[in-house]
Each structure stands twice: as structure tokens, then as C-alpha cells.
Amino acid sequence: MRAEKLPNSLITAHEIYYETSGRELFSGLNATVRSGELVEVYGPNGSGKTTLLRILAGLHRPDSGQVIRHANSTGFLSHRVGLARLLTVRENIRWSIALSRAHFAEARVLSVLKQFELTSCAQSLVRDLSAGQVKRSALAALVLSDHQLWLLDEPSGSLDAEGEELLCQTVSSHCQAGGAAIVATHTSIALTANRRIDLGST
């Protein structure tokens, strides 16, 4: 049976089954994420959060079931943050914007850099930044890329308390503006999710 498109849905996962090394990670997993929704994927290490996000991103194929992405564009932030270490923060952001075919507006870039406290290191190579600054840079690139759907894998990793708060605000603003986010986490962060997929109990 094919998954049907529901109104405003940005992504639909239908009867996802996936096993690795003979261990079943998910079975019969169904989820639809609509515009404006924030869904938290929660579970301990090894429960399959990253795998689920990669399946939703189209980077892994499930053993059975299907994923249909209706979103105009999808941004994926994983453990590997997707920034070139030998480029500056600005150069990385410029490339991310071009890749997502978003509009490059200098004033907006400066504003987001300021919001993420990256103004002083905008011209620094990513390899010279701290882990927290790298994560902030990746989030800034994601915000400026104007993706409709965000898939975030442990986005709070390496962030301090202030950065974590900024992350929560950014994700909430994105969803309020009509986007959607699926956030995988193993710790409790102050996200006000509409729904939670608990992989620890599957």
C-alpha cells in the first residue's frame, strides 16, 4: 500500500522496517510531519536515531516501507556538520545558500552571523574554530539556506547552555514560520515538540 499525501505534509514515512546485523531497529514505523510541526526522535545510543534520520533524508534505504518527501527542500545536519574545514565560515555559508538555491542577502547573512555570535570568526577557517563554534556555523548555514524541512541529528552536541537555548529558539522560529523539523536527541533539550518518536520503546 502506498503512503498518501496528507494536507501540508512535508514528509511521510510509511511502514518503515529496518534491521542491521540481524537486529531490528524499527518495524512498522509510520510518521507524517506537517508544516509547522516539530517532531523529536528520542532514544538511547544505538537505538537507530541517526539511521532513521538518514532514511528520512534519503541517504539510507529502509528494508521495506517508503519515505516520501514533499518539502521543497530538505536540510540535513548530522554529526559531520557539512562544513568544509578549509573554507571560512562565510565561504561555507555562501556555498550552502547556493546549493539550496536560496537568495543570498548580505544583510541577512550579517544578521544571522550576529545572532549566532559568529561575527568575529566569520572570516576564520572552520578548522580553526572550536567544536561549539563549528556547530553554530552549521546552524547558521542551515538557517540561511531556507530549507523547508530540517532533519537535525543531535544538534545540541558541542553547544553550551546559551547555544542550546539559541538552537531551541531557532528551531521553534523555523516551525512557526511554516517549516518543520525532525530532531533526534538522546538528551532532554528544551524543545517544545508537537510529537515524540521514542525509539527506546520500539
Binding site: 538518514r54 546549493l99 538555491r101
Partner: protein, 222 residues
């Protein structure tokens, strides 16, 4: 076009900042070429006979040295996943990566190789056709090699596997390249092997760029 140009610019910038890693294949080409020319000494006939095969074979291996890095850095940094998730941008971005790779390896190899050929006492006309065949052959090596590099990128360090995968596919290009130059050198009919080389190039340009993103997506699944 925006995605293509941005990715091309990005890859060239990264290559410039990588420095020695980018220059390694060219240093290899020069070193091996010079060593061969020195070993053959004053034996003019032997140098003239072996010059073209040595330069072409060295150019092929120099190209292979750079192949594993074609997608490796992007895989490690996570930018490859970013490219693949951005569905519509995956094709122009991968095409830009292939062109950047050729500009950084194939083109300088094609320019440097005739200089090495000088050490083998090759005539200027022969050096010209050597450079020409390399300008046709090195894009094929990049395109065919990209298939192998895309297949092994999900396997961690896949250098040996990559060599085993692509080397047999490089052999026809090597034979046609050397054949064209030698036929020309010895005043024989050199057009048929040259046409063979051009036919492979047009086939590779038509079929390979569109298949790289799906292969990369497949290798992410491993």
C-alpha cells in the same frame, strides 16, 4: 548554474588551501618521468621508443593518485550528504566537482607531460600530439575514475579497491593514447586510435556525470 559555479569555486579554493596534497600527483609525474629519462641515459633510440609509453603511463598513475580524494574529504566533512540531500542540486554539484578535479589534475598533467617528453628527445610535433591525446584522455580518466571513487567512498579507506576497480577500465584509454602518439611518431595512420579516444570521451561525457550522484547515494547506504 549557480550551484555549479559555487561548487566549482569552492573545490578550487579548497584545493589551493590544501597545497601539497593537490601538487602530489604532479610531483609524482615529474619525478617518475625524470628518473626514467635519466636511467635510459644516452641511448637515444631507446628514449625515443619508450618516451610516449612512459609519459602516458606515468600520467595515468598520477591521475589515479588524486582519485581517492575526489569525494573523500566531502564524505568525512559531511558535505557529500548535504549535496545528496539537496536533490536537484546534486547533479550540477557533482559535475562541478568532476570539472574541478580535472582542472587540478588532468589539465596540469597534460601541460606538464610534454615537458617531460622533452627529456626523452621527442620531436615538437610528437610532443604536441602527446599533449593533445592527454587533453582528451585525462577527462576520461577523471570520469571513469569518478565511478570507482563514488563506489568506494562509503567503505572508508578504499584505495586498493579503487585501483582494482578502475585500472582495467583505464587500459583501453592508455592503449589508444599511446597508440595515437606512436602512430604519429612513426608516420603511420594515427586517426583511427584518435577517433577511438574521442568516441570514449563523448560516451563518458554523455553517460557518466548523470550517474555519479545515484552511485554516491548508493554508496552512502553501505
Amino acid at each position: 548554474m549557480k550551484v555549479f559555479l559555487a561548487t566549482l569555486r569552492r573545490d578550487l579554493l579548497v584545493a589551493i588551501r590544501t597545497g601539497s596534497e593537490t601538487l602530489n600527483p604532479l610531483v609524482f609525474l615529474v619525478l617518475v618521468g625524470v628518473i626514467f629519462a635519466l636511467v635510459l641515459g644516452n641511448d637515444h633510440a631507446a628514449r625515443e621508443l619508450t618516451g610516449i609509453p612512459v609519459v602516458w603511463t606515468t600520467a595515468l598513475f598520477a591521475n589515479m593518485l588524486a582519485l581517492e580524494g575526489l569525494f573523500r574529504r566531502e564524505q568525512d566533512e559531511g558535505t557529500l550528504a548535504t549535496i545528496l540531500v539537496a536533490n536537484e542540486s546534486a547533479l550540477p554539484a557533482t559535475v562541478a566537482k568532476l570539472i574541478a578535479h580535472w582542472l587540478l589534475t588532468g589539465l596540469p598533467i597534460s601541460v606538464l607531460a610534454p615537458l617531460i617528453g622533452l627529456g626523452f628527445g621527442l620531436s615538437f610535433e610528437t610532443l604536441g600530439i602527446l599533449s593533445g591525446t592527454l587533453l582528451i584522455g585525462t577527462p576520461i580518466l577523471t570520469l571513469v575514475g569518478a565511478i570507482g571513487a563514488a563506489l568506494v567512498v562509503g567503505l572508508g579507506r578504499g584505495g586498493v579497491l579503487l585501483t582494482l576497480l578502475v585500472l582495467p577500465l583505464f587500459v583501453p584509454v592508455l592503449l589508444l593514447g599511446i597508440g595515437t602518439c606512436q602512430q604519429f611518431q612513426f608516420n603511420a595512420e594515427y586517426i583511427p586510435p584518435l577517433l577511438g579516444l574521442l568516441a570514449i570521451l563523448s560516451g563518458a561525457i554523455t553517460a557518466i556525470p548523470i550517474s555519479i550522484a545515484p552511485i554516491l547515494r548508493f554508496s552512502q547506504d553501505q
